[in-house]
Symmetry: C2
Subunit: 296 residues, 2 copies
């Protein structure tokens, strides 16, 4: 089984989102969820299924997004470079990263050749080290794409060396599961959220398995520490939240609430409970439904 979690640069127009969902579902893949965020103006589609089915579903959804989303008119607080911005393939239990790399390369070739999108392969599918990190690929965003693609170091892995006029470019990759975890702060001062993000993310000395951005949410007048937990097994979510809470408190801000965008592995929920409850053992071994093999 393979999971695919394409991100689209539309988080407001339900007609467009339903069209993307329907295109994916028409292939027979299981659409586990579609999570849209109006302030990010972005949506995350979660697909699960057999490899070839998921590949077709990701292709169908990407075609719909390229046909319907115009980046020239897109405003949102989350960085983005394309109508279909990023398409990661994730191996689920029993499947392999190698298969996901193969899917990413096949989908990337097709997106480049048939839709005319510049395609960057990233993470485990990357063709060079400086393209492993999605943030590096996306730096400059849609508005900076033409200049970036003119740089010989940023020739795409597939497709033309010029942005698609309305759909920009896309990153396609293979990676382990991650958790998109956002923490809302009760301050409108984005410098606080940015300082907190810097303190908690591994790149700047924080938790090794955490990527983080500080964002202003203009609609609500709040700020958000928007994180990817990329080392799910070794990064307890409540430990991340505690660090965010303490760093925010340094600047007089408090945590309003949090959110998980899309889905998280069940084991991460159990690890969170273990941490919060000071349980030394494996909570999963003590969950009745798991131990007794009962239906969920």
């Amino acid at each position: 089984m393979i999971e695919c979690v394409p991100n689209f640069s539309e988080g407001r127009d339900r007609t467009v989102l339903e069209a993307i969902r329907a295109a994916a579902a028409s292939t027979g893949a299981r659409v586990v969820g579609l999570s849209a965020d109006p302030e990010h103006n972005r949506a995350v589609l979660t697909l699960v299924g057999e490899a070839e089915t998921v590949l077709e579903a990701a292709w169908a959804a990407a075609c719909e997004a390229v046909a319907r989303i115009d980046l020239r008119r897109h405003r949102g607080v989350h960085p983005r470079m394309g109508a279909v911005d990023v398409i990661p393939f994730v191996p689920l239990a029993g499947d392999s990263m190698a298969r996901c790399v193969d899917l990413a390369r096949r989908l990337g070739r097709r997106l480049g050749e048939e839709l005319g999108l510049p395609v960057f392969l990233y993470e485990q599918a990357a063709t060079r080290p400086e393209r492993v990190n999605l943030a590096e690929i996306r730096r400059g965003q849609f508005e900076g794409l033409a200049a970036k693609l003119a740089d010989p170091a940023w020739q795409p892995d597939f497709g033309p060396a010029a942005p698609h006029p309305t759909a920009g470019a896309v990153a396609v990759g293979a990676r382990p599961p991650l958790i998109a975890f956002n923490v809302y702060l009760n301050t409108a001062d984005v410098t606080v959220a940015r300082r907190v993000a810097r303190a908690v993310r591994g790149r700047d000395g924080g938790l090794a398995g955490v990527k983080a951005l500080g964002l202003l949410l203009p609609e609500t007048g709040l700020t958000q520490v928007s994180m990817n937990i990329v080392d799910v097994a070794r990064t307890p979510l409540p430990a991340v939240l505690e660090l965010v809470r303490r760093e925010a408190a340094r600047w007089g801000a408090a945590v309003l609430h949090t959110e998980v965008v899309g889905f998280l592995p069940r084991a991460a929920a159990y690890r969170a409970a273990e941490w919060a409850l000071q349980l030394p053992g494996d909570l999963g071994a003590q969950v009745l439904e798991d131990a007794a093999g009962l239906p969920s």
Copy 2:
């Protein structure tokens, strides 16, 4: 499906515990676990299966315990009155409390008539209000049983009005799922554990869904707040822990670690993570394995 969670007054002798486990397993019931605590000198067997199978397994395990455990020589920090001390039946999803009450009464009758045990029906199976609460039935423990059974108000529901010489008496009942949750404190002063227990339990003004005892653990020189979370849906485990932590801190004590004895419902693990993570929504709806119908 029915769960049955008999408690036995033996937590040290592996031969006795294995005999009890084997007796239960020989009936075809699923023995999900057997959790023994040497300081409590007590063990919890968790059985799951179809109603009649679980009934036979509980009977077989009780026979083994009555044959092998001698309460006259039993020492342990947890209150107890019988070799097989308490036998609760619990309805799992799709099954009913009425069926569990019926099982409790049938097993109680058989334990009284065939093993000569005084039997008290409790909780949903109780025959009078003062026998709903297990703590009331067990008050006086094994050593006080003869006097208690001489009181007309404490005639057993089944079996003789005198203690079994080695096996005491047994409480058999039907109840919703509960979580046995113990918190270890870094103090040898049992008055601290008792004050904390009093502050957190519903009977004395604490959390309505919590029962609690403060216990001294002589082997380790620690103390324990030993709790039953009886209103699982409305009592988040991390909230219980925070209250214990704050009450213990009043007396200068801290929480070393916690334990769940036996099993807990998966939903309780998810509720714990939600509370700890300040997630306003239903985490279960965002667990990939649940949402995508993947195997556990």
